[in-house]
């Protein structure tokens, strides 16, 4: 047990080290810090007896009605920014981080250690996921505390939503890992992942698309693609629902996306085990 734990922890720590050696992660963390500073210093919310008195941004008072609605709206804007822009930055940064492991001259040494290939890949995957999760949680928990202190509202939906953001990143990271194992290319990994991120909002509108398509088979293709690929837009909608304290109609997008992630990661590991370097 212990003999396997030391290498896995070392792999995770190494991923953090490599991430911190890259500017892109500092950029990400910097953006998060700037946003937090904005919330602390620029936005002033005066609450009187549970109702909003004024909210001031850049010294200008804004007309508002209810404090809960305002906080939820702001939180969902931050969550969505994190969900889309944060995801894009994370994909960019991680593609390089994953591809780096397969560099000739580096992979041989890693493989020569008494650690199974599956663990080597999982260690990197986990390390990368944790780096990104740390950033997302930093911004989310930080802003959650700021909102809580300023308004006295400590609703958990916002925190919960960040776990879904991390989850979706984990699925995209599985794609990056698979592409990395197959082609050792950060650029291809970014292209494929963005391809998925672009296609899924389109597929989400499949009712509309199906009306436009005349052939039966083409409608079937759209349906199959919708169910197979990760549902990033549907989960974006779920995140909004969570923050706004609304009911979620279907969890299918979540579990089917999880399934996709597991299959892709397993494929990546299997191929990695068989490859010659």
């Amino acid at each position: 047990m212990n003999s396997q734990l030391i290498p896995v922890l070392a792999l995770i720590k190494d991923t953090f080290r490599e991430a911190f050696a890259r500017r892109i992660f500092w950029g990400f963390a910097g953006c998060c810090t700037a946003l937090l500073a904005f919330l602390v210093f620029i936005m002033r919310i005066d609450v009187v007896a549970g109702a909003l008195a004024t909210i001031t941004i850049f010294g200008r008072a804004m007309p508002t009605t209810d404090v809960q609605g305002l906080v939820h709206q702001t939180q969902s804007v931050i969550a969505m920014a994190l969900y889309f822009f944060g995801m894009i930055i994370s994909v960019f940064a991680s593609a390089g981080l994953v591809a780096a492991v397969f560099e000739p001259g580096r992979i041989e040494l890693l493989l020569s250690k008494p650690v199974s290939r599956s663990l080597i890949l999982l260690g990197r995957y986990l390390g990368n996921l944790l780096v990104v999760a740390a950033n997302i949680l930093y911004l989310t928990i930080g802003s959650w505390i700021i909102f809580g202190i300023k308004t006295g509202l400590w609703g958990g939906g916002y925190l919960l939503s960040s776990l879904f953001t991390i989850f979706v990143f984990g699925v995209l990271l599985a794609v990056i890992v698979l592409v990395g194992v197959l082609w050792e290319s950060a650029a291809v990994a970014i292209m494929v992942t963005f391809g998925i991120m672009i296609v899924t909002p389109i597929l989400q509108q499949r009712a509309t698309i199906e009306r436009l398509l005349s052939a039966e088979w083409s409608r079937n293709v759209v349906t199959v693609l919708y169910y197979v690929l990760p549902k990033t837009s549907d989960i974006g909608v779920i995140i909004r629902h969570l923050i706004l304290n609304e009911a979620v109609d279907s969890w299918m997008p979540v579990w089917s996306t999880a399934l996709f992630g597991i299959v892709v990661l397993a494929a990546g590991i299997l191929h990695f085990r068989r490859r010659t370097f």
Binding site: I6, P7, D14, E103, S112, P114
Partner: protein, 307 residues
């Protein structure tokens, strides 16, 4: 206790590419045995398949056929790699790590605990000739020679029983080579098996007791260095020969030459050499040297590779 550190049976690696359709047998049916405690050199020109062979020992490349055993365990088991220290060729160590961090990382991958790593790192770095400053310097700022040293330290981190070095003196200056050789000699004394890949004859000749020469993936020759280079003739060097005497001696020798006022003669058998020696002494010549010649490993190598 296994008798062999490395044992391969018909080890073969075929690289196939689909487009353009091509097949290359990089390692072709190689069976060798490396006894525990020996110093073994795998010698061959560039592209002979040495690196591919080593990668199969470490399971970085999977054999197409045959198998490799390390201390009697199949190299595909992760545990088989535990007693191996490896210095790859053309390595690219993570540039963001310092020398210290690098040893810490790879030591942990070998399953070493934190306290043990911390104890061993400074000793090892110093042993391979890296000073205090280098311990905390990022590898991105290391010179080629320093990288080679830190790579060696890394290979030694978990006190391996078998050391596999792929072109270890690549990019290292003569002083560094000497230092590396000293480190290796000390390990040899401790009973560590050392397997060395090289295209440099001098390196192998200076260090290894056994060699295998491979060419185009095939095992061309193997044995101890002494066996391979042993007796090919006798050499006689004399001075003070008259012109007539010189002509006579040259006609008896297998080959002859002159350098620094001395006549150098090579004879195929001991008998011929002794007769020539008697003749020369009887005619007032001075004998400078007389002895048995050994072919250099280089001659053996060139003969194998070209012939």
């Amino acid at each position: 206790m296994p008798a062999y550190a490395i044992e391969t049976e018909n080890l073969t690696k075929v690289f196939r590419s689909r487009w353009p359709r091509r097949e290359l047998t990089a390692v072709d049916n190689i069976s060798i045995r490396v006894p525990v405690g020996s110093t073994y050199g795998l010698l061959g020109p560039n592209g002979a398949g040495k690196t591919t062979f080593v990668k199969m020992l470490l399971s970085a490349a999977h054999p197409t056929a045959g198998r490799a055993m390390v201390f009697d365990r199949d190299s595909r088991e992760p545990a088989a790699r535990a007693p191996i220290g490896y210095l790859p060729e053309n390595h690219r160590f993570p540039t963001y790590l310092t020398g210290w961090d690098m040893l810490d990382f790879y030591g942990a991958l070998s399953g070493m605990g934190a306290a043990e790593r911390k104890r061993r790192i400074p000793d090892l770095l110093t042993q391979v000739g890296l000073d205090e400053r280098a311990h905390q310097l990022r590898l991105g700022k290391y010179s080629k020679g320093m990288l080679q040293r830190v790579g060696l330290a890394q290979a030694l981190m978990h006190a391996p029983k078998l050391l596999v070095l792929d072109e270890p003196s690549d990019g290292v200056d003569p002083v560094g080579r000497r230092q590396i050789r000293d480190v290796l000699h000390a390990l040899e004394q401790k009973g560590v098996t050392i397997f060395l890949n090289s295209h440099l004859l001098a390196e192998v000749e200076l260090f290894c007791r056994e060699v295998a020469i491979i060419q185009k993936g095939k095992l061309a020759l193997s044995g101890t260095v002494l066996e391979l280079t042993s007796g090919s003739g006798y050499r006689l060097e004399i001075s003070g020969a008259t012109e007539q005497m010189e002509t006579e001696l040259r006609s008896r020798a297998r080959s002859a030459g002159a350098a620094n006022g001395m006549l150098q003669l090579l004879f195929g058998t001991r008998e011929e050499a002794n007769q020539a020696l008697d003749l020369a002494r009887a005619n007032g010549c001075e004998v400078e040297t007389f002895g048995r010649t050994r072919s250099t490993l280089e001659e053996v190598f060139m003969k194998t590779v070209e012939g």
